[in-house]
């Protein structure tokens, strides 16, 4: 089942582009990452999905239902963690969570205490007295107490300490295994790499790539370093070796293309050592932005 589908979705703020012609789908059970720097259009897309912004053109379907017509019905099954959490400062976390729970039909109130214990959050403090991290924990709990089928997160880990982040990712994995679809927007690529199976890259409001995280990593430029016995007998380098540079008998270059070309060439050489590194998501991401 397709959980999120956008068709030609655009949002303009006057002449300024928020998002332009965005087409993508997220299937049930996906852990979908949405990568882009600040201002690329991630929050605009999420707010359009949730009905806070009226799209300039295009279509949105959530859980197979047209938005915004079925918005209230569909949002019964959606949890949302915003990037910058703003709650009612005079409420305590417990009051806020109870208030939030009152909007849903399928709320499990026992989850309030269970999750607050899990995240080590004191529920009886006022929002105005909470640190950014504890407000974020409140936001995470409020997004889960109605047991959503789809969890939309916009930079959810900002403000969380590394230990809580680790627990949060474990919890997300567990929820995903029990059927919850994850939409995870972030500019922290290591988090996308850790959590997601598919990802979209957004640049200046347009999606420039949608791929499985593993194939995104595989199909990218490889950083190669070869140490030769003697550089003299090497001869001409294949054209697919980019950015090649010599330092004594050490050749460094980037390789992109048919891996057999590389392996055949290496087989014909006399080497002392070899290292071929997969680029991390950060490098891939920068490649997209430099194109």
């Amino acid at each position: 089942m397709t959980v999120i589908e956008t068709i030609g979705l655009s949002k303009f703020y006057g002449k300024h582009i928020g998002i332009k012609n965005v087409n993508f789908t997220v299937e049930q059970g996906d852990k979908f990452g949405f990568v882009g720097p600040n201002g690329a259009g991630k929050s605009t897309l999420i707010r359009s999905l949730l009905g806070m912004l009226i799209p300039s053109s295009g279509q949105i379907k959530l859980m197979g239902k047209e938005m915004p017509q079925f918005g209230p019905q569909v949002r019964q099954s959606i949890g949302y963690i915003p990037a910058e959490v703003r709650y009612y400062s005079s409420m305590t976390s417990r009051q806020l969570l109870m208030y939030s729970a009152g909007f849903y039909q399928n709320t499990d109130l026992s989850l309030i205490d269970e999750l607050s214990d899990f995240f080590e959050l004191k529920l009886d403090k006022k929002i105005s007295e909470l640190s950014t991290g504890n407000i974020k924990k409140t936001a995470i709990i409020q997004s889960l107490i109605h047991q959503p089928k789809l969890l939309i997160m916009d930079e959810p880990t900002s403000g969380l300490d590394p230990l809580i982040k680790h627990k949060f990712f474990d919890l997300l994995e567990e929820k995903n295994k029990s059927g919850m679809t994850i939409f995870f927007s972030s500019h922290i690529l290591s988090e996308i790499q850790r959590l997601c199976n598919r990802t979209a890259v957004i640049r200046s409001g347009e999606i420039v790539a949608i791929e499985d995280v593993s194939s995104l990593l595989k199909n990218q430029v490889k950083q190669c370093r070869l140490i030769f016995k003697d550089r003299q007998g090497v001869g001409d380098l294949p054209a697919s070796f980019r950015q090649a540079s010599w330092q004594d008998d050490v050749l460094s270059f980037e390789f992109h293309g048919d891996i057999n070309v590389l392996s055949n060439w290496i087989a014909s050489q006399e080497l002392l050592d070899i290292s071929i590194e997969e680029p991390d998501l950060e490098t891939i991401f920068m490649n997209y932005y430099e194109r």
Partner: protein, 270 residues
């Protein structure tokens, strides 16, 4: 179409503010009525003083010779000016603030991620504003009735009292609806209290100016106060169903217009 959870929460959140405003209005009502027995005792002297003032000035200030002799007449002078202005500012700023606060403080993102439609949100919020309005109007009227009954030696004409308050309530309903529609068309971060004071006090002054001279009567047409009859001491004073209905219908019309505009609105988010 409405969400009772949201209505209850809104009324609860705004209740403290309502109590402060109600306290001010009720205290003012009791305070001015506390002066009435001594004013009544000096009635002849004060009536002579009023007779010496220009008629235009008296009309502009909502005064006449009966204000010194009847409790309802005395009360009407203050109700038709100060109390209505204070309550008008409350109604306008509450109507506007009930929507704009969510956007200005960015809590709108929390609410709109919930399973609630824009129309449901709009009408639930509007209803909670009208509940607050109703409580203010009702409590003030009850306290005023008790104060007049207690301090005036003559029997109060209930039908005139009710008519006076119905006219006032209709005007306040209109101000609240103006506040709601303003919140949809004006930047939510604006100071709506200042706008409310300016609008309510400004339209009152326009009416006072129109009442003070027949040459300036035309200017009164643009003020809602012009169409509201507070002259409870006039011989034929009675409930004006037409102007009251028009104010309530205009208020409803403005609220429905605001709902249409609200459906097409992008919320101010971070």
């Amino acid at each position: 179409m409405i969400n009772t959870h949201l209505i209850a929460s809104e009324v609860k959140v705004n209740f403290k503010n309502l109590m402060i405003w109600t306290g001010v209005v009720v205290a003012f009502t009791v305070l001015i009525m506390a002066f009435f027995p001594s004013i009544q005792m000096a009635g002849d002297d004060l009536t002579a003083l009023l007779d010496s003032l220009p008629e235009g000035l008296l009309k502009g200030m909502g005064m006449d010779e009966f204000m010194m002799t009847t409790g309802l007449g005395f009360y009407r002078v203050y109700y038709g000016i100060y109390i209505i202005i204070i309550m008008g500012v409350y109604c306008f700023s509450t109507g506007a603030g009930i929507f704009t606060k969510e956007e200005a403080k960015h809590t709108i993102e929390f609410i709109m991620s919930k399973p609630i439609s824009r129309l449901e949100y709009f009408f639930s919020k509007s209803i909670s504003a009208f509940v607050l309005y109703f409580l203010l109007v009702l409590i003030q009227a009850i306290i005023a009735l008790l104060a007049i009954t207690w301090l005036d030696t003559e029997t109060i004409d209930i039908s005139r009292f009710v008519a006076l308050h119905m006219h006032g309530a209709a005007l306040l309903f209109f101000f609240m609806a103006l506040g709601i529609v303003s919140s949809v068309v004006i930047n939510p971060t604006m100071n709506f209290m200042g706008l409310g004071v300016g609008l309510v006090f400004g339209t009152y002054l326009i009416d006072a100016l129109a009442q003070s001279s027949t040459d300036l009567e035309w200017i009164g047409y643009i003020s809602p106060f012009y169409y509201t009859d507070f002259n409870v001491t006039d011989a034929g004073y009675q409930f004006n169903a037409i102007s009251t209905s028009i104010f309530f219908l205009l208020g409803l019309g403005l609220t429905i217009l605001a709902s249409r505009l609200f459906l097409r609105r992008d919320f101010l988010t971070l």
